[in-house]
Symmetry: D2
Subunit: 418 residues, 4 copies
């Protein structure tokens, strides 16, 4: 057992920290300003600040770090974890600067794993290059998004085309006109076995029959700095059959493959958010005086700071252990761990953000700090990919089964007298 | 001891419920639309939907219910409490429709109690009439707003005028150009005894030297439906000496007089928010199915619903008891109770809103329900008039002193063996 | 609406406070000593300290206060509530001194309401007189005690007798040989309609076939100061048919009638426990110094004290409102409120006790304070009469149904856009 | 980074698991019985069940695993951690069987590190052999035990002897007459520098002037299965000067050296307690039916099970990381981590025990399961070695200082606009 990061990881952490300190944090005010004055409100990809940071990251060899294998930096999950955490500290510009922002990361992984050579050339290459963006269209307003078998969108074969009909929402990134492709999940065969009904197709955002209705807001934020969250109607949208990813009926399996890394990336970045919140909490508590004493000398604030540190350390270790398990035994073996971090992370980070806000007073709720925006983002994670309650429920089922197996083997001690 | 509302209260509750059901709830979508398309973004007072509701409320005898005494409806705090709660259920339009919205209510109370006849004629009359709005300028960015003695804004006599110099923020309502007057708290004599340094003056928003810099946002909301929260610089603003409220050095006492009713009104309305959130939670849980069962048949959701009801009932009773104490013994005697409800209310209501959001899924965070906006508003109450931690701290001091007095009288049992 | 206690209540409160201060608190050390040295370990009824306090309480007109109607003091629930709370402050001797201790109170109520004149003469009279004690045998080890329909004990008619067969546990008070009667719940007709299968019979503890197996302990306490908690086997125990209470099949209804007041009495007394814990917390925090400052000047302890006060006030009001509803509209109408206080009380009081213990350091866990024992007692209330989770679940069902009815009447506002 | 236990650890874990399954769990009922019937109530060391298990453990090479270096098994903290956890699952007999129970472990470590050859021969050898027991006398009733500088016990040189005068309590193990030695902390020079006033001496329990007054109980438990918790008066007790450990003034430093490993051992074992509680929770939930469904199919119980698993995993990783840091960088470098686990562990494990109890119903509070006893033990850890609040406070101080240093280096991003 060894809790030290390996050499390559440490080298990249140092390089990334420099980049963040020298370029990303200082650029945050510019982002705000450029967004407000943008001609095309949702096209964050065209903002000069983004372009410049991406160029600099590339120059420094900090590009596509998220992607294992030949197409990316080739890091393991365990190596990428602390890097993702660092980008999370600067969540508004960090991940995007490195071409490591959701949902593009997940989409690139799907394409890298499952796409045909033609699909890779047409879609993966420009995504890896950062010249286009993408979105992942799975959630629907009418059904519980945590239960993929309830999806109502239809993908119907018609000659050499697929025709897509349905309504999706919370399609993150899709308000951005540069999000040229949507990976759409729908049913090709509603009569098949439960997990073989779904398929995924690549749908150009500009295809006829695709109507982007509106952006969903989160608390009062429209999140235009990463392309918003679109509600989209697919009104008989047609795409060539060659746009199918893998085969018909493979949609559920692809979604599962996508979700594991997607979730752990969210968790890693969220820990970075928590670290920054704790930093800000300490900074503010160290300069603000109330009733004659600095806040960082007051017992209640001290409790918050200590608890924040205690919770972050535990959470990070669980995320790292999950990454390690994914690397060694595969995503499936890490399933329960992924559920655990999916449920534990937003609750923990939200708690810390809440306390950081409280220490800042009303400023903490306003545009003058990054805290309220972070709170909104983290809050969505308690619902994204299904509410935490669903994940805890499933995790308990696993625990109960495992415990029963142990008892069946004669292991467990009987406690109640007969 | 009797827990029934009196007849007048019940009659008004019925009348108000009808008004809300028939006019206010149905008008909520129109509000959203008119705000988006308004020429003057902050002037909610000019929106047709507001004008019409105000006219209707007045017609139905539901005007200025908050105000005791000759100028208003003459209700006690205890009588007004359940009415304020009802308006809280429809918080975006309800209070404004009845001319019962903060911060105008507190300002009208101050003027009704302390203003000269000339001041009343010039400012109170149009406020009671709903033809102008007002704001209350106390909080400052540079000091802990929970500690009124730290205020830095200066109010200096100069001939027959006062000259005001300082910076204020979170001045709710002041982005609205119709908020014609600001009641400004500042120091006339920084060398006087701690609680005699402050004074209050009426400053027209249009006075030279008053610069409204920007609106503060709460999470992503600018709260333009009640005039936003302004940051304002007073750059040597001049007003006639006749604009002083009461005497020099009376500012702190006026603020204290204002805060008691102001806080309890917030609490009353917040309970209405909680009731509506619980309603929405039940409605959604009754129609949404996940994993084969309606949400309202699932154990975790049931716990949330039950806990919400249990907490609301307890909280409402404490607020009502506080109102009763204020009516019978005055605001000062109710001081500890007011601190208790100030601290208990936002925590409780926030918890319920969080659960209501969770039951709604991502919709609960979006513009499609009122929940996220309510969460943002309630969250500010944990900071408004000082963070809850300050109030709990003060409440504990009272408790400790009371307990010690009881022990000194020989009352308390000694528990530790000698 | 009026939050003041009426005159009779206030007069009794004053009288009871004097009695507690002058006699009961000072007698607590004697209780401990006499229990340790008792010949008959479970017969707390024979301890001199108990006898003397009972005589004194009777002399002062503080006897059987719990019992409404002709047999008792004739108080309403609302009048009794603050008196029960006061006895709860001195929970080890207070209730017993006044003949107001569970489970005798509930049994006396059952007999006063439902017993025949002969039964009253034989059993109720000596109970009211305090010369014998009783127990209530309902809970069984093999089934979920929260679900009365699952009871397995059989009560079978055989000639002019009933024969009782079954196993009960957690029969509070029944280790005391002076607990001469057991009111036993069992099934006379397992084929009848679900709630008509059960009956109740009076079984003398000395009847043949009654075997008291052992006392159950709670944390390490055997609770001999109120007769422990017995496990009892009924091995064909025979009693005359005249021992049936009311009719065959009435057992469930009697249990329901018994539980309402029983639960609210527990809640009232528990609030007294909380008040005393808060007193002790303040006293200790006022004398203990750590790291240079008194504990009551430290922020975290202040938070605990304030929160304790805030929670107690809310809880007490809900209990009082419940008592008021029971008095005016009957126990059935107060059903949801009784569930609410049943679930809210132990959680709240346990939290306060935990903090009081923490302020006392290890002494708080030991025999040197009353806190650890109180914690154990209150903890059982989260399970007694069924776990709180069952009550919250049922309460939620009521809330959901009520909310649906309101919506059906056209009341509820629709929140989601169509 | 590697999360796998090393081979030696895994081999020992397997061997220890076999021992626990085959011998220790099955012996638990015998322990209970033998304790009740023991002639000498506090001498658990003389119980046959203990003797036999110790012999068997020794035979299996599972003896003194806790002790690094030549005198013990030579394991690192990281290697010992999962073994301590396993013994914690069977906390009543497991640690004692392996000669790995507190407070002897800490005392043996002190003697192994600091004792003279003569002291080692006289005291350490029989302790390592298990033929005598020991206690550690530090806590005093009159002062805050979390602040070692406040100790009042005096150790005064008088000729060739030290004379000890003072009162100690919560001296775990010292009710056992076989606890032949007490390591006593007192002040030799109250005028010296704060942390050089204290010394430690070995005091035979049988020395004249040592009066063992009584056993302290925890909730209702006297904990005689590990020698209780004694209150002891040192009334001019005399011991030879040769009984001093290290030098005069070294007491504080020795205490610090002792506390680090002592705390982490407690944490490790506590995690074992949590694992067993979760096992029992699952077992009970899998067999108990309420309202028509097994408890492990009900949402609320599922939440508890999942949360328990999530919290245990995080906590264990933090404890392991702490052990790793202690091994690599020493106890001092791990100071903040030790504080973190000291504060996090009891809270987490207590929460899990509470839920396990709730799932068991009243049985969970009684002598029929191990849960209530475990709750009592874990609850004491929130106070042992100073309340958790003190440790969190100190941890926050470290965090604040570290954050300020980071900012001073120009690292931290400024968040508030100027």
């Amino acid at each position: 057992m060894d809790f030290a990061y390996d050499d390559r990881t440490r080298e990249l952490m140092a390089r990334l920290t420099d980049f963040l300190d020298e370029h990303v944090y200082p650029a945050e005010p510019a982002l705000e300003e450029q967004i407000e004055n943008a001609d095309e409100p949702w096209a964050w990809t065209r903002l000069p600040v983004v372009k410049e940071l991406q160029a600099e990251a590339r120059r420094r060899g900090l590009w596509n770090l998220f992607l294992p294998g030949e197409h990316g930096a080739g890091l393991t999950n365990l190596q990428y974890a602390p890097l993702a955490e660092l980008t999370g500290r600067a969540w508004r510009l960090g991940p995007a600067s490195l071409n490591c922002a959701a949902p593009d990361t997940g989409n690139m992984e799907v394409l890298a794993m499952f796409a045909t050579p033609e699909q890779k050339k047409r879609w993966l290459a420009p995504l890896l290059d950062g010249s286009i963006r993408s979105a992942f269209a799975m959630t629907e307003p009418a059904v519980a998004s945590s239960d993929a078998t309830t999806i109502e969108t239809r993908i119907e074969a018609d000659g050499d085309a697929y025709v897509i009909t349905g309504r999706k929402w919370w399609i993150t990134g899709a308000m951005n006109p540069d999000a040229e492709l949507l990976i759409v999940m729908g049913k090709t065969d509603p009569t098949a076995e439960r997990h073989r009904q779904q398929s995924m197709v690549i749908v150009p955002r500009s295809a006829p029959g695709v109507r982007v209705l509106r952006g969903m807001s989160v608390f009062g934020y429209d999140d235009r700095d990463h392309g918003g969250h679109a509600e989209i109607v697919f009104d008989g949208a047609r795409v060539p059959r060659a746009n199918l990813i893998l085969g018909e009926g493979d949609g559920f399996a692809i979604a599962q493959a996508r979700l594991g890394p997607g979730r752990i990336h969210h968790c890693m970045r969220s820990i970075g958010v928590a670290e920054r919140a704790l930093d800000l909490m300490c900074a503010r508590a160290g300069e603000r005086v109330a009733f004659g004493r600095r806040l960082d000398e007051q017992g209640v604030v001290r409790e918050w700071i200590a608890e924040s540190r205690i919770r972050i350390e535990q959470l990070r270790l669980l995320v790292l252990r999950t990454a390690w398990t994914m690397d060694r035994l595969g995503n499936k073996a890490a399933h329960a761990d992924i559920q655990a971090i999916k449920a534990a992370t937003p609750t923990t980070v939200e708690w810390i953000l809440d306390k950081a806000i409280q220490v800042h007073g009303a400023a903490g709720l306003s545009q003058d700090t990054v805290l309220a925006g972070a709170f909104a983002s983290i809050r969505t994670l308690r619902l994204a990919d299904g509410p935490d309650e669903v994940h805890r429920n499933a995790l308990a089922r696993t625990e109960v089964r495992t415990a029963a197996e142990r008892r069946a083997k004669g292991g467990g001690p009987l406690e109640l007298r007969s």
